[in-house]
């Protein structure tokens, strides 16, 4: 019994990480109807940047966020202004294929620089620390920290979206870019800021992922898929929904892994397909589409 309670707790906590993968994806889809196929590879890129920063400066990986987050945000802004803005329009193909190409480029560039060996960020004692709840059940400090970070990030995005001028600009552009432009917003700049924010979240998610597990250049696409599944399970356009989606996915994977180690990822995919079959609008839908 305690075994299963542990599985559920672990699943919920890792769900926070998936929610962070999902939040960045959901954000840019909401603002500019762009699905970034390279999202997962950018998570891995952030992890490698953190690796370089923390080893060269001798920083704790969590402290390296001070550098990694602004750097990723800058990369996002430039990427959007220089490349992705040119692909936006009525046609679906250009943004999809350009971000797909980007995914291939990032993966192979990382492979060329860092080789296929898997690495890990060392965060010290925090990695193994845990808080006992009752005998047999304890919560790891690191997973808990990740979950709290996810809640904070999503809560922060929620406030930004609905309480600030920037959020108003995001929502206006999302509703109708042409009218937003007429009202004096520079839509290209707003899109750039949207991607910068998305990659700032990606940076946090990437660093937390890299402290938790080994990573190598090839793991990006699977992170994209987890994030995407969390978005669809939670319901399009709802930020808190992505947290719920991430938790459902994390718990499903945990239960699958408990039944048979080979079933971990498959169980998550099946949960996603069941939601798609039974409730295609997701658990907490906001926009339809």
């Amino acid at each position: 019994m305690t075994e299963w309670i542990n599985v559920i707790i672990q699943g919920v906590l890792i769900g926070g990480l998936y929610a962070m993968f999902a939040a960045g994806l959901s954000l840019i889809f909401g603002i500019m109807r762009l699905v970034n196929i390279a999202h997962g590879d950018l998570i891995v890129l952030a992890a490698y940047i953190a690796l370089v920063v923390s080893t060269t400066l001798g920083l704790n990986p969590i402290a390296s966020l001070v550098i990694v987050v602004p750097l990723m945000a800058a990369i996002g802004y430039v990427l959007q202004r220089a490349l992705l803005n040119r692909t936006l329009g009525d046609d679906l193909l250009p943004p999809l294929l350009v971000t797909f190409g980007l995914s291939v480029i990032i993966q192979n560039a990382l492979l060329e620089i860092f080789t296929a060996d898997s690495v890990r960020l060392q965060a010290g004692a925090i990695e193994v620390a845990s808080i006992p709840i009752v005998p047999g059940i304890s919560i790891g400090v690191l997973p808990l920290l990740q979950f709290v970070a996810a809640v904070a990030v999503i809560g922060g995005m929620q406030v930004l979206f609905y309480r600030t001028a920037l959020g108003r600009a995001f929502r206006a552009t999302s509703d109708d870019p042409a009218v937003a432009q007429l009202m004096g917003l520079d839509v290209r700049h707003v899109f750039g800021l949207g991607m910068a924010l998305s990659l700032a979240v990606v940076a946090i998610a990437g660093v937390l992922l890299a402290i938790r597990t080994n990573f190598d250049p090839s793991i990006g696409p699977a992170r994209l898929i987890f994030g995407f599944e969390a978005v669809i399970i939670g319901g399009l356009g709802s930020l808190w929904g992505t947290l719920a989606g991430g938790i459902v996915l994390g718990v499903a994977q945990g239960i699958g892994a408990q039944l048979d180690p080979g079933w971990q990822v498959l169980a998550g995919h099946l949960a996603f397909l069941i939601v798609l079959a039974v409730r295609p609008e997701g658990l907490f839908p906001k926009v339809r589409g």
Binding site: F29, V35, P94, L97, G101, L102, V104, N108, I232, V265
Partner: protein
């Protein structure tokens, strides 16, 4: 009923010349076992597989607007079905190829019902999830080697043809025949009523819908047709390889990234595009594949550049410039009393 005062025809001089050149090339390729060595035959068969895969993807993405990044699901399914039918059900290898196509088409129906609930970009990632599910399921099938895969038993390999040379010739001709069949099927589909509907959807989906086209039904037909073709190509690829593993058979790089690259560089939404694209892709591969990951990096960069600066691909540029078509697909209208005022429509 009054006879219509106009006639629709497809061929013109360019397509007649193009068609003749194509037919001559085909004869030379059919005779390849008599002038090419073993290595060239393998390469050619691989080229045919990519022509067929890219043409099928082009039909799906270029015409029906169903941008899938999960077609490796059907390549792998085709390969695995070939192994399952021959090893577990005792079906002769060559007969199992059409059977593989039919089974994959049946499998694709519920898959379509699920992924069609996702629109546009999310559809793309949804197809990828399906491919991952197929891969993970394949690695659970222990009779076919589980995660590490399996080889086709010698008895079955010998049942294809008695000698190694005969078998290689036979597989070569099957690969060529299948590529021609897939192209013919796509040409036939595009020349039918579905073709007009598809061209309309390609150009403007909303306008097509408002003209009374059942967009979802047409897309559904295209999705199932593509699954049918892609799985048969997968079966032939693995009939040549004789060894299968989940990671290879469901590889995103091999069966989707390269295929998309081919279609994009050749020209999406044109039937000639994937053929030109395959030629360019294999030329680049022969020249640069020693570079490993740098080569892949370059492919990604070229695909992005083409998408940004020449979204209609190499064939699109040539065709627009010179009004070319190899396959007779453009409908032209000749009015009965004014044959000179022939209208033209794509």
């Amino acid at each position: 009923m009054k006879a219509p005062a106009f006639k629709v025809y497809f061929t013109d001089r360019a397509s007649r010349i193009g068609g003749s050149v194509f037919a001559l090339m085909l004869v030379a390729l059919v005779l390849a076992p008599f002038w090419a060595d073993r290595q060239d035959l393998r390469l050619l068969a691989e080229i045919y597989a990519y022509v067929a895969l890219a043409s099928a993807w082009n039909l799906l993405a270029g015409y029906a607007g169903l941008v899938s990044i999960g077609q490796q699901a059907y390549v792998g399914l085709g390969g695995y079905l070939l192994f399952a039918l021959t090893m577990l059900a005792g079906v002769p290898p060559l007969w199992s190829i059409p059977l593989v196509g039919v089974i994959a088409a049946v499998v694709s129906i519920p898959v379509a019902a699920l992924v069609f609930r996702l629109r546009g970009h999310y559809f793309a990632i949804g197809t990828w999830v399906v491919a991952e599910v197929f891969r993970l399921l394949a690695s659970q099938v222990s009779v076919l080697g589980g995660g590490s895969g399996t080889s086709l038993p010698v008895g079955i390999v010998l049942s294809i043809a008695a000698s190694r040379q005969e078998r290689e010739f036979l597989v070569y001709w099957i690969a060529l025949g299948l590529a021609v069949l897939v192209l013919a099927l796509i040409v036939a589909l595009l020349r039918s009523r579905y073709g007009l509907a598809l061209t309309a959807i390609r150009d403007n989906e909303v306008a097509a819908r408002s003209s009374g086209i059942g967009v979802t039904r047409v897309k559904f037909v295209v999705y199932v047709t593509t699954a049918f073709c892609t799985a048969m190509v997968g079966a032939v690829i693995y009939l040549q390889k004789l060894r299968i593993s989940p990671d290879g058979a469901f590889s995103t790089n091999d069966w989707t990234a390269f295929v998309i690259f081919i279609a994009v560089i050749g020209g999406v939404g044109r039937i000639e595009g994937p053929i030109i694209g395959t030629a360019i892709f294999f030329l680049l591969r022969q020249l640069f594949s020693d570079l490993g990951s740098l080569y892949l990096l370059m492919l990604g960069a070229v695909a992005i550049a083409i998408m940004l600066f020449a979204p209609r691909g190499v064939w699109g540029l040539l065709a627009d410039r010179f009004g070319l078509q190899i396959f007779p697909l453009q409908r032209r209208i000749a009015l009965a009393d004014h044959p000179a005022k022939a209208g033209r429509t794509e």
